[in-house]
Structure formats: structure tokens, C-alpha cells
């Protein structure tokens, strides 16, 4: 167990690789109850979120979710979040555990004249992320909704194992899967039911290797108040065309002049394993690794790094690992994804 944003979190249960492989091949479950849940409601909820988040909330229909960012005026990322639209004027914003207070305060500071209510409901929700290609088949019999009909990014109020929950077809692993929001009272019973379905408990360690393989950013590593989404390769969740929003001016300027660094995936040769803060050398200048690990799926070192914008996919670079230069190649992200499988299934 390790301390993490005030929570005691399991790094691993059976073993990181076993847990990682279970999620890639069958099913695993993460207790991510540490994540923060902020409910945004009121007659101006949509307008408010349109203004305070970078993605286009107007395109988000009821029962769906989108990945989004909370930016400050300078275009830095206060937090990244999943936004679920629960009703016409009710939204659930899921933020990082370490940023619940910061994000809540930031949002409250922007409310102004908007008719909107913000509630930090983090203590009211357990969050269990059930992930892997077999989760649909294993979870479906215990759910009163036909899960084969629940498409990617959708969220519904359902009963699982006879208990009322919110279930979203979302996740942070690059696999098909579901996230179950339930009451803290129901959490342990649902957890036990899931384990009874031969779904392997997985810890923070596997969560990190899975998200890295999936090319997903982690706030504090690839994202932060001193990093813009354009640098982090997340321009796709910044809806520049939607009109005014917090950070728009600064981000438009960065987009116009071009970012001074760019997040890229890299693969190391041989047995070098990149880790965060390791220096990177490229022919266009220096960079730095933001996250790195041994990829259980690819059986080699993978990482994300900020490098000069002139660097291109396919470039040979080097990573300094304990004083030695290791060859590495800049590659497309994600490193691995099962996206096509579940897209085909859910379309």
C-alpha cells in the first residue's frame, strides 16, 4: 500500500504483470474511489461548463461522456477530467484525487453570474473500474440493462447485483470496460461480486502501465498548470471554434506561434527503461521523459517525453539512463490499443 493524495492505495495485489495481462486478455477491476466527483447542476450548467472546460459541452448529449480539460487563463491545465451528462442541467465531473480541492476551488472562482451549483460529492461515490475485453460478458448477467447495447462513452443508471449504480462505458486502460459509480455502502459488496466473477483485482501499478501503453496523459506528469494541452498533444479536446472559454486567448496564441515543445511517445532499444525526468537528446535539442515504464505488452521500454517541436515520428533520439545514452525512437501513440475491437463491437 502507498499513500496517494490522502488515500491508502494498493500498488499491486497478485503482481503488476499478472494484473496488467488480465486487463489486456480478460478482465480486471481497479478500486479508483479516490477519484473526485463534482456534480454541476443548475439552469446555466451547460453554459458554465462550456465556458470553464476546453471541450465542447454543447455536443454532449444526455447519457454520454467526454474527456475534457480545466484550463487557467494562461492555458495551463488545472486538471483533466471526464465529464458525464446525467440530465439536461446535471453533470458529473470526475477529476483527479490530488486535484479535487484545487479543481473545486478553481471552478467556484469562475461561477460569477452563472446560475449553477457545484457540489463536491467525492465522499458519496465509490468508483470501480472494470476493464478488459471480457468485462461485458462477465458483468452483463448481473446487470438489469443489456450491456451489449451500452455503447462506448455512454452512462446509465442501472442496477448491478441488485444495487443502484451509475455505469459508464469508459476507462483509462485502452481496453473496453465499464466504470461503476456506487455508494460507499454498496462498494465492498459489489467489489466482492466482481471478484466472484473471476475478475482480477488490479492496483495503481497496472493502472499506470496500462494507461501508458494506451498513450493517455497523467496530470502531474504530462499535464500541469505549466503545460498547455497543445504541447501535450491534446488539441483535439480543445474546441477552439466553440467561442469564448477560459484560456482560449492564450491557447490560440500557442496554436498560432506553435508550441515550444511537443509530447511524443518513445521506445527504447534493448533493456533501457525510460523513467520520468530522464534527459532526452535529439538533433533539434534537449527534451525530458515525463513518464516511462517497461511495457508488459510490448516487452520493452516505453515512455512519453517533451521534445523540441521539430522532432518527428521515426526520429532516433537518446535517453540518458543512469549516465549512459540509450538509443530510442520517437513513435506514434498509443503504443497499444484495443480500440478497434470495441469500436467495431459498439458501432
Amino acid at each position: 500500500m502507498v499513500g496517494f493524495a490522502g488515500w491508502d492505495m494498493p500498488v499491486q495485489y497478485a503482481g503488476l504483470i499478472a494484473e496488467h495481462e488480465a486487463v489486456r486478455s480478460t478482465a480486471g477491476v481497479f478500486d479508483v474511489s479516490h477519484m473526485g466527483e463534482i456534480v454541476v447542476s443548475g439552469s446555466d450548467a451547460t453554459e458554465f461548463l462550456y465556458y470553464v472546460l476546453t471541450n465542447d459541452v454543447a455536443r454532449l448529449r444526455k447519457g454520454r461522456s467526454q474527456y475534457t480539460l480545466i484550463c487557467n487563463e494562461a492555458g495551463g491545465v488545472v486538471d483533466d477530467a471526464m465529464l458525464y451528462r446525467l440530465g439536461e442541467t446535471e453533470y458529473l465531473l470526475v477529476v483527479n484525487a490530488a486535484n479535487v480541492e484545487t479543481a473545486s476551488e478553481w471552478l467556484a472562482g469562475v461561477v460569477g453570474d452563472f446560475e449553477v451549483e457545484l457540489e463536491n460529492r467525492s465522499d458519496d461515490y465509490c468508483l470501480l473500474a472494470v476493464q478488459g475485453p471480457e468485462t461485458e460478458a462477465r458483468l452483463d448477467p448481473g446487470c438489469d440493462l443489456d450491456l451489449t447495447g451500452l455503447r462506448r462513452t455512454r452512462i446509465r443508471e442501472v442496477e448491478v447485483f441488485g444495487r443502484g449504480v451509475l455505469i459508464g462505458r469508459t476507462g483509462y486502460t485502452g481496453e473496453d470496460g465499464f466504470e461503476i459509480f456506487c455508494s460507499p455502502e454498496d462498494g465492498p459488496a459489489i467489489w466482492d461480486e466482481l471478484l466472484g466473477l473471476d475478475i482480477m483485482p488490479a492496483g495503481l501499478g497496472a493502472r499506470n502501465t496500462l494507461r501508458l501503453e494506451a498513450g493517455m496523459a497523467l496530470h502531474g506528469n504530462e499535464l500541469g498548470v505549466d503545460i498547455t494541452p497543445i504541447e501535450a498533444g491534446l488539441a483535439g479536446v480543445v474546441a477552439m471554434e466553440k467561442g469564448d472559454f477560459v484560456g482560449r486567448e492564450a491557447l490560440a496564441a500557442v496554436a498560432e506561434s506553435g508550441p515550444s515543445r511537443r509530447l511524443r511517445g518513445l521506445r527504447t532499444s534493448g533493456r533501457g527503461i525510460p523513467r520520468d525526468h530522464y534527459p532526452v537528446k535529439t538533433e533539434h535539442g534537449d527534451g525530458v521523459v515525463t513518464s516511462g515504464t517497461f511495457s508488459p505488452t510490448l516487452q520493452g521500454g516505453i515512455g512519453m517525453a517533451f521534445v523540441p517541436p521539430a522532432c518527428e515520428i521515426g526520429d532516433s533520439v537518446s535517453v540518458e539512463i543512469r549516465g549512459r545514452e540509450w538509443e530510442a525512437t520517437l513513435v506514434e501513440m498509443p503504443f497499444y490499443s484495443n480500440v478497434s475491437r470495441w469500436r467495431a463491437k459498439s458501432s
Binding site: V11, G15, L16, I273, R275, F294, R322
Partner: protein
């Protein structure tokens, strides 16, 4: 759990002394903390190692950790099997998971290492 005939360091290495040579590995506590070991970086045969100084590193999926030399001396053998089976460090921690054999340059250094009881006390404190 920690073999009685071995000596231990505060950095969680074990050392088995046999005459003027010794075998070095990492402890069960260390392998458990690291999790799945995927790569062990070791010095070459003939290299000199120095007490309390790093002589290599263990990469697990989760993290990387320096290996600290319990004693000073010259490396006389390296466990090449770990190249293809680094997980042996997790499964055969005090046996086939050994890392290097060293010819001691100052056998007296061994006296300052912990015995298994003292090491167990340290681990108990770390786990509490």
C-alpha cells in the same frame, strides 16, 4: 524467512560469505517492494566494487532501484541467467536469483553487516 547463514545490508542486499569470496543478491523484502523484475543491470567480471557504492540496478515494471555493494572487492562471476529470466530474482531470491560473486578485498567489512535477526527487525519496522 531470511536465511540465518546470510548477512544483510540496510539497502536490502544479502551476502553469503564463503572463504574469501561472497555471493550477493537482494532480499525478499526488496523483491516484494520492487514487484516484477524485468531487467538486472550488473557489472562485468573483473570490475571493482566498493562498499556502500552502487554496482548495478534492478528495473522492475514499477520502478528502478540501485544495487549497493555490501563489501569491496573484484567481481569474479555474474549471474548471466538473469538476462533471460530476470523474474528469478522474485521467485528464487536467495538461490538462483543471486547477482554477482565477489572476491573480498577486505574481509573485515563483513563484520559490520547485519545478521538475519537484526535485518528482520529492520524489515518489521519498515512494514509496521
Amino acid at each position: 524467512m531470511n536465511p540465518k547463514e546470510l548477512k544483510y545490508t540496510r539497502e536490502h542486499e544479502w551476502i553469503r560469505v564463503e572463504g574469501d569470496e561472497c555471493t550477493i543478491g537482494i532480499t525478499d523484502y526488496a523483491q516484494e517492494e520492487l514487484g516484477d523484475v524485468v531487467f538486472v543491470e550488473l557489472p562485468d567480471v573483473g570490475a571493482a566494487i566498493f562498499s556502500d557504492k552502487p554496482f548495478g540496478a534492478v528495473e522492475s515494471v514499477k520502478a528502478v532501484s540501485d544495487l549497493f555493494a555490501p563489501v569491496s572487492g573484484e567481481v569474479v562471476a555474474v549471474n548471466g541467467d538473469l538476462d533471460n529470466a530476470p523474474e528469478t530474482v522474485n521467485t528464487e531470491t536467495y538461490g538462483d536469483g543471486w547477482m554477482i560473486r565477489v572476491k573480498l578485498s577486505d574481509p573485515g567489512e563483513v563484520d559490520s553487516l547485519m545478521d538475519s535477526a537484526a535485518y528482520q527487525k529492520l524489515v518489521d519496522e519498515l512494514r509496521s
